[in-house]
Symmetry: D3
Subunit: 132 residues, 6 copies
């Protein structure tokens, strides 16, 4: 099994609902270092998992939809705790949509899985992985 | 599949038995950077894997049982090589006990797996993973 | 010359005024990984720069005054761009006050300089250094 | 399941064939930070995954066969894109051969899997994993 | 004193002349992780060291002049060992030229110093610093 | 001003005297990630700060004198707190002796300064710098 990972980052504000979150119930923010990993059983005709340029561009575009925003004001996330775990799934699902739409190239049809890790600090991070 | 990881560290002395260990048969020491990862299929009602505050506290407490000690003098480890691999299992098993005992909250009952990585240097680390 | 550094982090929301900031003029957020470095010419009677436990506690307390907040609503920062550079100075100045107030122990009177680095992402960081 | 990882690095020149590679079609180069991970279900009689000294030596030797070379001139790679993904497989396969040949010690017969990650920069890396 | 750092990277082929370089006399390559640091005594009117967007763009452009090339074939470097140290100076000098030419904005006239670090691996890096 | 840094590591046991050290008064241990930095105003005839191979070898040898030991039993350190700061000085001084003795090559006579950083964990490190 092969995989390729590209890294970018995201800077957002948000707040959480629920006593479990303590002071993070207040409006605060985070930089998420985002690692998107693409998996497949065999390499494509160019001997790669996916075009690293396209993967980088598509990840940047997906993060651009969220970047420099207050997630509390994004209609799609109304009433939702935009936890690190949840945001990992949002990024993975949107990348999956782009793979299926062909924006990562024809070779990307051979991808079997995507996993996304968001690092919220040097001491905490979350990952979501799914099939394609 | 989702996961959440929290990081802490541990500073211990120990020695090893066996020619394979070379100079590490002498009493020496290590800082272990410890990453504890909690896995589950779906997020809980708060949209998280586990309360990051509780996970951090429990990991710190588990490491506190070992921290600033000479592991050669810990009765439980008598006659045992406290290798990085072995210590990863000790930490994972003790975290698993705490999950089962409820000290990571009710939501933690949905956890399916724990994995623990101990980094002994910038060029070597070990991981142990187990079901919950 | 000796120095000792301790690391912690900070998660805040804020926005910037000025065209130079582009999309960062919107309310967004950041995790700052914060490194506080204490400098001195000679070690103290315990053979250290400063008590690492006290340095860690004081840095954590200084960051606690800012952590999990929207800096746009902190009266002290009204009308100020709370840039990474500026926040490095805030942290360094508050640590300096604590050194002078004696909260880092008597040995800390021998410190000559403080520098503080705030990493806002894996690709950007800022430092402020000052005499004590 | 246990694993042990050791890290080393590799500095090579190469070029790629195919429009997908853009400017990387020109002769250029890369430092690959190489992490070799050895997996097994249970620890051996010494309480380890594999002798870390032997694993480090064998990884260094495998990388030494490629290090400080122009991969375009290595006969074995004629007509092949020596992508990060592909090189991860080369390193993993050569380590597997060495495990089977006994150069990592008798205990290494218990290894079940090898995975190798090559980091080509702070923002891109690839992994290949295989059974033993 | 304040500073701001931005990070990018560079992938090149080259070879060295001189017995001191051992196997690195052969054509090989490197990824250089490049940190460009801008220093100044006081912040500008926007409360920053320099526009991070402009600094990032200019560093990327400077590296773009060298990226994906065989430095042995760059006329400017004929007969020169393009060591990590030397390349740090090249990048710093070219950034300094851009500061003086105004491409980092008017505020950049307040910069006093540039330093550039090139990391050639996880175990070796070089820095060059100069006044502006 | 130019500098070159090489990294290695050290694994030792030790204990501290003094209430300030809390639980670190017990025999424990540490991995120190060691960065040795060599400074000079101008590059040598080979266009480098110092031969990276020699610098790596000499650092490794200096660390080898301390590695896999209980520092409490090293006669030279009797009655001394072998703090991170203190050990940084030991390493820097021993490297300076080697520079003066010629073991880093003739070119090393142009070095002006050495600084050594020891990282005891991901959240604490110390540096000592001195002239040559």
């Amino acid at each position: 099994m092969f995989s390729l990972t590209v890294r970018d980052h995201l800077m957002v504000a948000h707040s959480f609902n629920g006593e479990v979150f303590g002071p993070a119930q207040r409006l605060h923010g985070a930089t998420f270092i985002v690692d998107a990993t693409f998996h497949r059983a065999e390499l494509d005709a160019d001997n790669i998992v996916v075009d690293i340029g396209l993967a980088t561009r598509e990840l940047h575009d997906v993060l651009g939809e969220l970047n420099y925003r207050n997630l509390d004001e994004v209609p799609e996330f109304a009433g939702v705790n935009t936890s690190t775990e949840f945001l990992a799934k949002i990024v993975a699902d949107r990348l999956a949509d782009r793979v299926h739409a062909g924006s990562m190239g024809e070779g990307a049809t051979g991808l079997s899985e995507i996993s996304v890790t968001l690092r919220e600090s040097h001491v905490a991070w979350a990952t979501y992985g799914r099939a394609l």
